[in-house]
Point group: C2
Chain length 332, copies 2
């Protein structure tokens, strides 16, 4: 029997507290992907089933429930957040040319790039329709801004591909945009529909932002950690895709001449092979930059926890604090 990790337990605990809402959200998501054009529900179902743990909608539901939401708008927003996320996954897999997600073939591999692009657009439209149903212009404002910021981060990541001179600030801007922006919005809109005040909304936003940044930093660290299975894609994916992430940036910052030559050569190549990855991992291990990345993730995580502790004592609040730990220790 598989050992249940501490990480799994903290996620299960939160899920238990919001089980009813989580299931309602799931049902609502599945209702949205209906269409007479068969390929749309088929492809959508495939990617949604691969979508993983539904962290983002869990955040929306939890933040709203923690603040005693009195209607069903958090369900609609949670579904909208997940649909928005799913649309970006579909487009990302095309952009990254990823053939696998969580060990399963990606949608554009089973169908084609064209279908993934267009079904992504369909889901984006559906996400906005759900937001409209809440009658909250504030939520629409927050999430439409997030949609642009996510795309902006993805373009910046694309522009910086293979650039070994990428500045750490640009790297952090990329992960804040492509990942943290949806985490922060997911939390904030949960507050909005619960009638949170300005200070509470700011706290929720910052909790999500710090959690999302920590989450992405861990993801980037795990990409070079041979001992672990990455939650999302496959080990070494970032490297093969030419994404220069923090473990590499830090290794380059303290590289000797020979190492600098290696990084330059390897990221200037059109494709990188397994031998390249092996050498990269060896250098990264010597420089201890996985741990340095994890340390930075921990700082963001600690910040997230402190912010959440600013809310009144409540089982969901405590579960959200534990969720930060889940994000930090997952699969380690």
């Amino acid at each position: 029997m598989r050992k249940i990790s501490k990480a799994d337990l903290s996620l299960r605990n939160l899920k238990k507290l919001i089980k009813k809402e989580f299931n309602e959200t799931d049902k609502l998501i599945k209702n949205q992907i209906n269409s007479d054009v068969n390929r749309i529900p088929k492809l959508s179902k495939h990617i949604i089933n691969l979508g993983g743990k539904r962290l983002r909608p869990m955040l929306t539901i939890s933040c709203a429930k923690m603040l005693k939401v009195r209607n069903k708008n958090h369900i609609k927003l949670a579904a909208a957040v997940e649909l928005l996320h799913t649309a970006t996954l579909l487009h990302d897999d095309v952009v990254d040319e990823s053939n696998y997600r969580r060990g399963e073939k990606t949608s554009h591999t089973l169908w084609d790039n064209k279908s993934s692009i267009l079904v992504g657009d369909f889901l984006l439209g559906k996400a906005f329709q759900l937001m409209v149903e809440t009658n909250s212009l504030e939520c629409l404002n927050i999430l439409s801004k997030a949609a642009s910021i996510i795309a902006e981060g993805e373009v910046l990541q694309l522009v910086e591909t293979n650039n070994i001179n990428i500045r750490k600030t640009n790297y952090l801007k990329i992960i804040e945009s492509k990942t943290a922006a949806l985490f922060s919005s997911a939390c904030e809109v949960g507050g909005v529909v619960s009638g949170a005040n300005k200070s509470q909304k700011k706290k929720l936003f910052n909790f999500g932002k710090n959690l999302g940044t920590a989450f992405q930093l861990i993801d980037d660290a795990l990409d070079y950690d041979g001992s672990s299975v990455k939650m999302g894609k496959n080990n070494g994916d970032d490297f093969f895709e030419g994404k220069v992430t923090l473990p590499v940036i830090l290794a380059i910052n303290s590289a000797n001449k020979k190492e600098k030559e290696f990084w330059k050569k390897v990221f200037n190549k059109k494709t990188r092979n397994k031998t390249d990855l092996k050498i990269a991992k060896k250098i990264i291990k010597e420089k201890d930059t996985i741990n340095k990345t994890l340390k930075l993730a921990n700082q963001y995580g600690e910040e997230a926890k402190q912010i959440m502790e600013g809310f009144e004592n409540n089982p969901i609040r405590d579960a959200l604090i534990d969720l930060v730990d889940f994000s930090l220790i997952r699969n380690h």
Copy 2:
């Protein structure tokens, strides 16, 4: 000197009546594409400049002005409609693998598919932000639905690619979704921000729907009309992309055995060449299906005109009626 056609004149006339608003919209669109990530404004500017005559935002402005709009929301919506359209063009060019638009290289040819997909997503987000600025949930509802319907039409088109047995109803569903849905929404939201009543909004919607359908039918007819330059892409594009449009559907419906064999063979091939197009055009000419397609377009156009005549006498109303003629006779 180039002869000014009747079509050009009718467009100029409408443009003159809404010149101030048209320029404000143009300025607003250009403001929206700003970003620290240089590739975003560069690529956006390229596609927006190729965008053509800005028919859709002109419809929003005109419908609003005809109904005596009293604020600036029609400018915001017109810009939103154009940004939404631009986003779909970026994605369409990737999906269709089109190398040229209006004689210029397409964005994904100058940059890459990835940039076109992501900048499209960025512009979609910006379009929704502008809609939010109008504070009109009704407009957000109309346009978010349109966004899904457009994508749905594009997926249906993709599924029906190379299918010579496509039903005429499915063909009409495709063009109603991928083209007419944005025309009808562009008109309807113009009414909404002017405080139009239910019956007026319905009329505007139906005017746009019929105009958009006529517009696309003409586009599809021109693709096989060697004597004219198509407004959008290049002559024969639909054929090369394997899109079975009305001139072909009608030719297949009355095909003899030999012709049927030709259509089957030619659309079963992975790619079609210029000789194939020549034969296709010859059959289409013999069957007179371009004229049959134009005739159907005219019926939709007449319907659009009749609906518009249901509004009170007004210079903009008359210019919109003339615009239908422009759509029907453009480049003929």
